[in-house]
């Protein structure tokens, strides 16, 4: 029943495209940060450094070998690797200008990708020169920053969804005002509220769909462009945006259209209930 005026999709579709673009970019950031935060949090929680602090290099090497042997013996810990002494010396060299690192009693460092600080401390209780430290503790400020960024991007995505609902409500009211005469005729001829609702929300859904498709296309271009730039500098965004995340990004515009239709229906129902 094509009764409403045929109008080219205008401001409403453009606004939908803008909010959809904003929401998709924010959602992509949220999803990417989510997996990044997980990775960093995992690392922060489980990455362990075992230090052997002994001025005697022979005894230090012996204890370090003992530590690695014990770690290999116990199941549940990831592979333990001693950080090469030259690497440790290179790390400290910039801070001891004028002094040879060879002259310093640097500790032996053993890196563990997976382990629990408390359990390891118990294993090496009988080795007084051994210190177990959670390396990830240094990453916790970064994790907190990522969490904050995630909260902000989620907020932007939700704000965009709320803006869409408001825009759709306004669009529905404008459609009602524009089509008041026609809708009055339909009512007088016995059209039900449901039929009127279908007519007006159908048009809003079409315009919203068009806008959301436009927003999706632009958002995908931007996301893929950023992904390619990050790949150029050696950061794979695809590892942060999983297949599920891509699916979510593709489905979000549909959800946005759903929000628009629901908001429009709410506004229309409220107006129709006021009619005689």
């Amino acid at each position: 029943m094509l009764v409403l005026q045929r109008q080219r999709p205008g401001t409403f579709s453009l606004l939908m495209a803008a909010t959809c673009l904003l929401m998709l970019l924010a959602a992509a950031l949220t999803l990417a940060l989510r997996s990044a935060a997980h990775e960093i949090a995992d690392a922060a929680a489980q990455r362990i450094i075992v230090q052997v602090i002994d001025a005697d290099p022979i005894r230090r090497d012996r204890v370090a070998d003992e530590v690695i042997t014990r770690l290999d013996r116990f199941a549940g810990f990831g592979s333990a690797q001693r950080v090469p002494p030259k690497e440790v010396q290179a790390l400290i060299a910039p801070y001891i200008e004028g002094v040879s690192p060879n002259d310093l009693p640097l500790p032996a460092l053993i890196e563990l990708k997976k382990g629990r600080q408390g359990a390891l401390a118990r294993i090496f209780r009988d080795l007084p020169t051994v210190r177990v430290t959670a390396a990830g503790a240094e990453l916790s400020p970064l994790v907190r920053l990522i969490d904050a960024l995630r909260a902000v991007s989620t907020g932007i995505a939700l704000t965009a969804a709320a803006a869409t609902a408001l825009i759709a409500t306004l669009a529905a009211r404008a459609a009602l005002a524009r089509e008041a005469a026609t809708l009055g005729i339909l009512h007088a001829l016995g059209a039900t509220d449901r039929q009127i609702l279908r007519l007006v929300t159908g048009k809003i859904a079409r315009d919203a769909g068009l806008g959301a498709a436009g927003g999706l296309a632009i958002a995908l271009m931007i996301i893929l462009m950023i992904a390619s730039r990050l790949t150029d500098i050696g950061v794979g965004v695809n590892s942060h945006l999983s297949g599920t995340a891509w699916m979510v990004l593709l489905l979000l515009p549909l959800g946005l259209v759903g929000v628009a239709v629901l908001a429009a229906q709410g506004a229309l129902l409220a107006s129709l209930r006021r009619a005689p």
């Binding site: 029943m1 094509l2 009764v3 409403l4 005026q5 045929r6 005469a181 026609t182 009055g184 005729i185 339909l186 009512h187 007088a188 001829l189 016995g190 059209a191 039900t192 509220d193 039929q195 209930r273 005689p276």
Partner: protein
């Protein structure tokens, strides 16, 4: 016998002003034919709005098809409206639809299949002399043609009640007679007809019809005793 339309002490007031309609009590029996006359501003259109459920009364009881409209849930109103064919004084055609689609609209609202709609609409458009103009939009039709489309739209569903506000105001006498004949035929088939008009010639063509005179929001003859047209000067 229960009336198709029953008004009991009905009043209608817009805002806080005086009552536009006051103390209306009358019954339109099934299959009856009525004219509603009265000077401009007497409340004819307001009365038609009450009958067609475009407005609710401020007081009193309006019963349509035996149902008290005041206590009717909103979702049941469309069903009652579909049983009424209305011809508006200003036609109220949908401007973006063709004559064909305007006439087909009530059938589409009722959910009738397109294959049943097409022959029915074409036949009626031919009957009102608008077959060749079926694809024309209202803006390209003359006033008389628009009025005929409005009448065709009102009768296409064979409603139980037809309410027409000045249905022959824009057509030539020959077409007016044809349209009145159509309403008469429908009335003989059992449709109740109420025509609001100033056209005394129309009143004379239906001597058996009851006449309700509305003046200052009140009906002069709610009993329908005035079953004769008013005197017309032959000048």
């Amino acid at each position: 016998m229960a009336g198709i339309v029953q008004f009991d002490n009905v009043g209608l007031r817009y805002g806080t002003g005086a009552e536009t309609l006051a103390g209306l009590s009358f019954t339109l029996a099934p299959g009856s034919f009525h004219f509603l006359t009265g000077p401009s501003g007497a409340g004819k259109t307001s009365l038609i709005n009450l009958i067609t459920l475009a407005q609710r009364p401020s007081r009193g009881i309006v019963c349509l098809f035996g149902r008290d409209t005041a206590n009717l849930p909103r979702k049941e109103l469309p069903e009652l409206r579909r049983r009424i064919g209305v011809v508006y004084q200003d036609f109220r055609l949908v401007p973006q639809l063709s004559a064909f689609d305007n006439v087909a609209l009530p059938l589409r609202i009722c959910g009738m299949a397109e294959r049943e709609i097409t022959p029915r609409v074409e036949e009626l458009l031919d009957w009102v002399g608008l077959g060749p103009r079926a694809a024309a939009r209202p803006a390209t039709l003359s006033g008389g043609e628009q009025q005929r489309v409005a009448i065709a739209r009102a009768v296409i569903t064979h409603p139980e009640l037809i309410v027409a506000d000045e249905p022959t105001g824009n057509v030539d006498p020959e077409m007016a007679a044809r349209l009145l004949h159509l309403l008469e035929v429908l009335n003989r088939q059992g449709t109740t007809v109420l025509i609001a008009t100033h056209d005394v010639h129309l009143l004379r063509q239906m001597p058996g019809a009851s006449i309700m005179r509305l003046a200052k929001g009140r009906i002069d003859d709610p009993t329908g005793a005035l079953r004769f047209p008013p005197r017309v000067s032959e000048a």
